[in-house]
């Protein structure tokens, strides 16, 4: 086992001067073309080799947990949804579990199946997005455009089912807000068939491509022991050979019925090395797994209610009386999400709300991954920071039977009108406006 270094104090600049007088300090970030979000990496390099790394997050801190304690619980779902644009259903799914446990709210079976279906569709789109980013970081932009093109159908499907490409607003305490009617099953099945037919292509493009293999094999290694002691989660842990998956380990929703198994590269007949290549393998395997889970859900999903408390006013009244604490966990595409909540009677807002996202746990494993790597490998090793692409191109409206699409021009018109509205209001209130 490689020694896990945890003493940045010891490796302070003075000591580094003594131990490695030829080291150069290379800062990357907070804003850098190789990164999609603000974070600062400081590398100490000797020649091309990274000797030590220090990582400073905190540039994206928004204080969401504080904001959450100023809102009522129904508003909190939509705030939780905005923690991450890519895992935008994972946080609400964990939150509703926590509140349901604290307040003792039951969830009908059909609602649990719908939650699973949306969660798994999200996993497909998130893994495809990641695959595109990984290809881009390797300088393989043709593959990036191909993967993001084939990611579109799953977003269209989510839009069709929920009304939104991201931020689906589906979970509510006690169930879900929108049913998947049987008329939509064929559309879902078609999309799943489409993705099944693409699996061979993905294996060819990603796993059998000599240049991708050369760039990712034995790069950014995280050993099994390191993944265990540093509490890695999600595909990062599984690529290191740990069979760790909340869906398998901890029963919630209908996952016990679906017999989900944590997948490692061994399931593809490969030896586990814990490198970037293995992380691609695990994510591709999980896309197939998600397809299977959704197919099984469509077969087994029972008829019935989709929520146990249909009226929001009644729900808020019930939640206001609730007292207690609860934990909700969900396996997001990138790993474990956990929400802890404490409710007090006669208070609409939660007293304590603690959120943990997967990257929080996968922060420590970054340190051993970077050690002894080359500078050119930094982007691909760091690529577990997914970018948040907001789909501003259009809005899809599903209102009753009617389906309409608002195109970019329309959005632009709306945006211009809003600017005009805001400007005129500002002029009315501004001191220079009053004079005239």
């Amino acid at each position: 086992m490689k020694e896990v270094r945890l003493e940045p104090e010891e490796m302070s600049e003075k000591k580094l001067e003594k131990t490695c007088p030829t080291c150069f300090e290379v800062p990357i970030g907070p804003i850098h073309p190789a990164l999609k979000e603000g974070i600062r990496f400081t590398f100490w390099v000797e020649g091309e080799k990274i000797k030590k790394v220090d990582i400073r997050p905190g540039f994206m801190h928004r204080g969401i947990e504080f904001m959450g304690t100023k809102r009522n619980l129904v508003q909190l779902i939509y705030l939780a949804e905005r923690i991450c644009g890519i895992c935008s259903v994972s946080h609400p799914l964990a939150l509703v579990q926590a509140v349901e446990e604290a307040a003792g709210i039951e969830v009908p079976p059909r609602a649990q199946y719908i939650r699973v279906i949306i969660g798994e569709l999200e996993r497909i789109h998130s893994h495809l997005l990641w695959a595109g980013v990984a290809a881009h970081e390797l300088g393989f932009d043709t593959l990036l455009h191909y993967v993001w093109k084939v990611r579109e159908p799953v977003l269209d499907l989510l839009e069709d089912i929920t009304g939104n490409r991201i931020d689906y607003a589906i979970p509510i305490y006690g169930g879900v807000r929108r049913d998947i009617p049987p008329e939509k099953y064929p559309k879902l099945k078609d999309a799943l068939r489409y993705y099944r037919s693409l699996v061979d292509d993905f294996v060819n493009f990603f796993l059998r491509d000599p240049s991708i293999e050369a760039r990712t094999r034995d790069v950014g290694i995280l050993t099994r022991e390191e993944a265990d002691v540093l509490c890695a989660v999600g595909p990062t842990a599984r690529a290191s050979g740990l069979r760790k998956d909340v869906r398998q380990d901890w029963p919630y929703f209908t996952y016990p019925d679906l017999e989900v198994k944590a997948l490692t590269p061994e399931d593809m007949g490969l030896e586990v090395r814990g490198d970037v290549y293995d992380r691609i393998v695990v994510r591709l395997l999980e896309v197939v797994q998600s397809i299977q889970i959704i197919e099984r859900c469509l077969e087994e999903m029972p008829e019935g209610e989709i929520t146990s408390v249909p009226k929001v006013a009644a729900l808020l009244a019930q939640l206001k009386k609730a007292e207690g604490e609860g934990i909700g966990r969900h396996e997001a595409p990138r790993g474990e999400v956990i929400h802890y909540i404490r409710l007090e009677a006669d208070k609409e807002a939660p007293v304590v709300w603690k959120v943990k996202a997967p990257t929080y746990s996968n922060f420590m494993p970054w340190f051993p991954m970077f050690e002894d790597q080359e500078i050119a490998d930094i982007p691909i090793v760091a690529a577990s920071i997914d970018p948040c692409i907001c789909c501003m191109e259009r809005v899809y409206l599903v209102r009753g039977e009617r389906e309409e699409v608002v195109w970019k021009e329309e959005l632009l018109r709306l945006s211009r009108e809003k600017t005009k509205r805001v400007a005129s209001r500002l002029a009315r209130h501004a001191p220079w406006g009053r004079k005239g």
């Binding site: 896990v4 265990d228 509490c231 919630y252 017999e259 956990i338 802890y340």
Partner: protein, 181 residues
Amino acid sequence: MRAQEVLEALKEKLGDKLRSPELKVEEIGHRRIRERGFLWAEIEREDLLEAVRALKELGPLHISIISGADVGEKIELIYHFAVGYGTPDGEVMVNLRLTVPKDDPVVPSICSVLPGALTTEREKIEFLGVEFSGIPDARKIFLPDDLEAHPWRKDEPELSQYVRYTVAWEAKKDERGEARA
């Protein structure tokens, strides 16, 4: 692993040090019913490391998060562990609660047993003002280096000024028409 087994093993190792343990077992699933276990217990800070070692002997140990709150005279920390990943339906959530007085907020760091806890311990230092003895790295992680306030503490005048400002700013949104526009 069953929740009952975890509780018995912990009781055997820690004895009275594990205070007011509470076991909550729920049934999950529709076609195949599975048990899901939560264990809640209180512990003194002196016994924390021993408890974590005992948990680690029980099976693969994962720390999800340490959550915390300012509860008047004291600070409360809850360690959310998951014991026994890797086996289907075999994980048990163990939640250890400990309180420390505000004038002596020192807790032993568990990084020597579970290095993965470093991120969440660093977060608690800056957000709640607790200290972890023996922590390998006590620098700030999410907050600016020059911020001396602890955002989750309710007794800091400097911070409450920030909070008042933010809340007032949020409330004025309606007047400015931002919320509705």
